[in-house]
């Protein structure tokens, strides 16, 4: 199956119940199986600028490169797949663009953004993130977080200082330890996961997972799994019903079929004639 037929992608954002403007940005490129979500921070409208820059750099650059190249190509210099490299390099590119804008223009000083991005190809997803925007995976009825927040709270959980239950009532929420555009360089966390048919991937900003428990997110995805548009709306409503203190952005990706890259010469030939 071609990638745009194998995946169903829905995105929605909402400014929430308290904030007047929305600093979250999303971009989806179904033709190359790419989804990007960013949650900006910084005074006035700088947060929107930072998250907008991040998603547009990543989305347009990767889409452009994948027009003529395959994400499974091995890059000689590093031995990595092009898909992995593109995601990492373009997030770093977004980082330097935002950093330079914030250095050169006083109204953007100190702006930054989180980012979470997924590139789907060859029955896999490359998940890259910085900060506390997350990617979840619903497989069967089980919901799992497949990114790990770069936040103070997550570090405390890892160090055994605070339990997962106590973390929910901590006053140290919203403190990220890594962000895009704050320093001249940034380390991107990238992992590759195998994808199964019927998996649902959820990318979200902390406006969702701070307001709704993982159990509520799981039951919403299970109940509305056959209708992604309703599921996205329902998740946003869930966060707003619980207070909606922050902007909420969600992207849902449902895997409807396999999307292996053609490998043998015969499949490649058939594929060629299909075009």
């Amino acid at each position: 199956m071609k990638i745009d037929e194998a995946l169903e992608i829905v995105s929605q954002t909402d400014s929430g119940m308290v904030r007047s403007h929305n600093e979250d940005s999303v971009a989806c490129e179904p033709s190359c199986g790419l989804v990007v979500l960013a949650d900006g921070m910084g005074g006035y409208n700088a947060g929107e600028v930072a998250s907008g820059m991040a998603v547009s750099v990543v989305a347009t650059e990767i889409k452009q490169r994948l027009l003529n190249e395959s994400p499974t190509d091995i890059v000689e210099a590093s031995g990595e797949e092009l898909g992995v490299l593109l995601l990492r390099e373009n997030i770093q590119k977004a980082n330097s663009s935002i950093f330079h804008a914030s250095q050169s223009q006083p109204q953007y000083a100190g702006m930054g953004t989180t980012i979470v991005s997924g590139l789907f190809y060859d029955n896999r997803v490359v998940a890259a993130h910085i900060g506390d925007s997350r990617m979840y995976r619903l497989r069967g009825d089980a919901l799992e977080t497949i990114t790990r927040d770069h936040s103070l709270l997550q570090e405390q959980i890892d160090a055994g200082i605070i339990s997962v239950e106590d973390a929910r009532i901590s006053k140290n929420k919203n403190l990220v330890t890594r962000a895009v555009g704050i320093d001249a360089e940034v380390e991107v966390e990238v992992h590759v996961h195998d994808v199964l048919v019927d998996d649902i991937y959820l990318l979200c900003s902390d406006g969702l997972n701070d307001m709704a428990t993982d159990e509520d997110i799981q039951s919403t995805l299970v109940a509305f799994r056959s209708n992604l548009t309703l599921a996205a709306g329902q998740l946003i409503q869930l966060a707003n019903d619980n207070g909606g203190r922050d902007n909420i952005a969600v992207i849902l990706v449902k895997v409807k079929g396999k999307f292996a890259m053609p490998r043998g010469w015969l499949t490649k030939l058939i594929d060629y004639f299909k075009k």
């Binding site: 506390d132 977080t145 360089e185």
Partner: protein
């Protein structure tokens, strides 16, 4: 600004201690930050570790132990107004930051920067990201403490989300078909009705009532004879839902 402890005995306040150090000790010996000269108190009795706005109480293997709000404890994540009991002494923990910040400071996501640039904390390298939720409680902890030595002033705080729900119990009773008479109490936030692949609707509990939403199936369910649109529809007491040929009544109990 900072959280504090108020030391008292028999209701009489003795002294206030601001929690202005990352680690403060409580004990009988004079070198403790909070020194209590009483034989029931161990030399080094307890420690309080403060990380930004969160404080944790820890028993340092004291002879007579610690109580928090009357319950013996070894380790405790302190919450505003908790009362720590050491012998006859009480230490009340006050952290009312929520009321002291302006609303504009709420919820802002901020970046914690490591004082040493480009030095990623050891804890941020997950061994196996897909399975970490299960292993968080392990003894296998990274040795590095989190980067708590933050110099910037941080006021991002958040009260726990208040998930309000209607207190009345709502019920769906089946009126027709083989299951006629059966009652289903809507105790969960989401209840799925119907058959997957044929016709499915979801009942959602929200702060201001229950809603029905058509999720899948060629035909939409009806409420009191009117077909539902694609939007959620609020249910009123004694509404009759028809779904996949089965009629059922929605009502509030009691």
């Amino acid at each position: 600004m900072a959280a504090k402890l108020i030391l008292s005995m028999d209701g009489a306040v003795i002294k206030e201690y601001p929690l202005n150090k990352e680690r403060m000790t409580i004990g009988r010996k004079p070198h403790n930050d909070i020194a209590i000269d009483n034989l029931a108190v161990s030399g080094e009795h307890a420690a309080i570790v403060t990380i930004l706005n969160d404080s944790f109480l820890e028993d340092l293997d004291s002879t007579n132990g610690l109580e928090v709000n009357g319950t013996p404890t070894k380790k405790h994540f302190l919450q505003n107004n908790d009362v720590i009991g050491i012998g006859k002494y009480k230490l009340k923990y006050i952290n009312d930051q929520v009321t002291q910040s302006t609303p504009a400071d709420f919820e802002k996501t901020m970046v914690l920067r490591n004082p040493v640039k480009q030095a990623p904390p050891a804890a941020s390298k997950p061994a196996e990201p897909s399975g970490f939720a299960q292993t968080q409680g392990n003894v296998n902890k990274p040795a590095a403490a989190p980067s708590a030595d933050v110099t910037s002033k941080i006021e991002a705080i958040k009260p726990a989300a208040q998930g309000g729900a209607p207190s009345q119990v709502a019920v769906v009773q089946v009126l027709t078909g083989p299951n006629a008479g059966k009652e289903l109490e809507l105790t969960k936030n989401l209840t799925t009705l119907g058959k997957p692949g044929v016709q499915v609707a979801v009942l959602t509990r929200r702060p201001h009532g229950f809603f029905i939403t058509h999720v899948e199936g060629a035909s939409h369910p009806t409420v009191n004879g009117t077909q539902l649109s694609d939007q959620p529809h609020q249910l009123n007491d004694h509404d009759v839902i028809e779904l996949a040929g089965v009629k059922m009544e929605f009502y509030y109990k009691g």
